[in-house]
Symmetry: C2
Subunit: 210 residues, 2 copies
């Protein structure tokens, strides 16, 4: 199992993984800067330092490439949030820093690229067909993570609606942050919403714990 | 004052107004369908049935044209909301239908076009310079209308933050609605948000009225 042939295969697999990652990182960069119209396969391959042939070998269409890139970066961000959340207090004081952490999912390097894609998909059926299942998946994952990090009981309808509202709020805040640094205003809004959430959610949890 | 010359001037002014409106309507349409990259002056003038020369006479650059178009349609939407809000009850039951009405500002025909513009401006300094003051203006106007329609006292910090959060939520909901009809989920979120707002805002107002 450790002969030269399998060694070469492992090396090939590693090279293939590195190439895919370069292409996905380049796709997000080019999308962010030039939008869907400018993010051609050629432009992405060039940015990645990869030949167009190799690009097409890994991703048959540019829509498949950018959808894979969005999903990949999104999962990296979720992992980072879960990791950083471990350092937060376990008490009610957890809510506000958690909201700020979750905001990073929406407003990270992915947001501008994803917004370009989503808005282009309004008039592009092929892209829309790729993004809709991705949107459902991404939405579920971030909802599940939020419920888990806030230590909530999802069977409660009020909890579900409060978490939905929280994620819609974060999405709106990320959009407001596109053209200028909106941090000062955002902190006030998130502090306000954290107090609201604490008041709404804590009694439910106490009742359930009794 | 009513001689043939001033009659001709009025006719010219009316023609000019109609041409501007055609160009602005076409700009929103082409932006929605093709994004900033596709919304060239030529494409917009063709859609409006106006010559490129006439287009340039009214709007020296395409950035000036689309910024004027966004502002124009935005004001039309604000007027429509103010008009429709007159039919709403004056009681607390006003909050939820008002939120649904305000949602229309964000998710109307303007939203896709504006999102294309905002995301393109991230990497386009000229466009960004035009949109930033427009964003400030639009944000203030919709904030003022919301405070007024909800009958709130803006000097209260909690009120200001609650209204800010509400508008961020509506923006996030509009983004969630881009690719598919999100109405069923949105109604739940807005119903939840309306109950929260009622609970937060009514006691403050009662205290102030005492």
């Amino acid at each position: 199992m450790s002969g030269p042939a399998s060694g070469a295969t492992r090396q090939e697999q590693e090279r293939s993984r590195v190439t895919r990652q370069k292409l996905m990182a380049a796709a997000i960069e080019v999308l962010t800067e030039q939008g869907w119209a400018g993010a051609t396969t050629g432009a992405i391959a060039e940015r990645a330092g990869v030949s167009r042939g190799a690009c097409q070998h890994h991703f048959p269409t540019r829509a498949a490439l950018v959808a894979a890139a969005v999903e990949h970066v999104f999962h990296q961000q979720l992992e980072e949030i879960a990791r950083r959340a471990k350092g937060l207090p376990q008490s009610r004081r957890r809510v506000e820093p958690l909201l700020n952490l979750l905001y990073d999912v929406y407003a990270g390097p992915l947001f501008t690229a994803a917004t370009h894609l989503w808005v282009a998909a309004v008039a592009d059926e092929e892209l829309k067909a790729l993004l809709l299942p991705l949107e459902t998946h991404v939405g579920r994952e971030v909802h599940r993570l939020t419920v888990q990090l806030l230590g909530l009981d999802e069977s409660d309808r009020e909890v579900r609606d409060a978490v939905r509202a929280t994620l819609d709020l974060l999405r709106g805040l990320a959009l407001a942050n596109l053209l200028h640094d909106d941090t000062a205003r955002r902190r006030k809004v998130l502090a306000h919403w954290a107090r609201t959430l604490e008041a709404q959610l804590t009694p439910t949890r106490t009742t359930q714990a009794d």
